[in-house]
Symmetry: C2
Subunit: 138 residues, 2 copies
């Protein structure tokens, strides 16, 4: 059962093949993600990952590990604080902030560049899980 | 150039192969999305799409059509109001709500079930686009 203050960290990275797969799957072929020559003309200077590909680590962590199987996403406020790049090790950190009614939990969702510690994504998710979140408000 | 009140609609659907591709790419193998027998035991009764796969239509629309190429995602508040299913036609509706400083725009992001008109995802995105959003607050 989740408790307020519990936290889980998960290290991950994506490669350019993952970015291309995300572009094919979603249709987001923005050259900022795919074309090094185009990206070189922007303030980022090299291709950046799709923001939602970076944020998808929370779908994985919340849906398969913490709290895990059976999790239903109710809401997610995602702030894309800094660009994310392929082949960089990031750390997702999820922390239980509140337990609500009806098996819901508010979870802080952060991604840090593992080396620099800088935050690349911040925000909060609301999830429901009938097996792993208490039924009543804590 | 974007103007306040402008709106764009985009019809789309995903199939189970897309859900499986999203699960492989992100690692979110929650059986709620993949296993009909598991899903049959839940209130949804059949597999539901990953919420972020549904929301990824905004990555496509904002990044390639409206305002299009060069869009950078700054923030997205996504509310998953109702489950989404494969092989159903949905309509994404994006509407310009505010134009901010430094080429930023606040855009309402909705997904409706095209047949019933019911909202499945709601929320607001903040994006930046140096070519297609005015430089100064409107």
């Amino acid at each position: 059962m989740l408790e307020i203050g519990q936290s889980y960290q998960y290290d991950f990275s994506f490669n350019q093949g993952d970015v291309e797969a995300f572009a094919r799957l979603t249709g987001d072929t923005n050259p900022l993600h795919l074309d090094p020559e185009y990206a070189a003309q922007t303030p980022f200077r090299r291709p950046i990952m799709h923001g939602l590909l970076g944020a998808s680590v929370f779908s994985k962590v919340l849906g398969t590990i913490f709290p895990g199987e059976g999790t239903v996403y109710l809401k997610h406020e995602i702030e894309f604080n800094r660009p994310m790049f392929v082949d960089v090790v990031y750390q997702a950190v999820v922390t239980v902030k509140e337990l609500g009614e009806k098996f819901t939990a508010k979870i802080e969702t952060l991604i840090l560049d593992k080396e620099s510690g800088k935050v690349t994504i911040s925000g909060e998710a609301m999830v429901m899980n009938r097996q792993k979140v208490p039924r009543f408000k804590a």
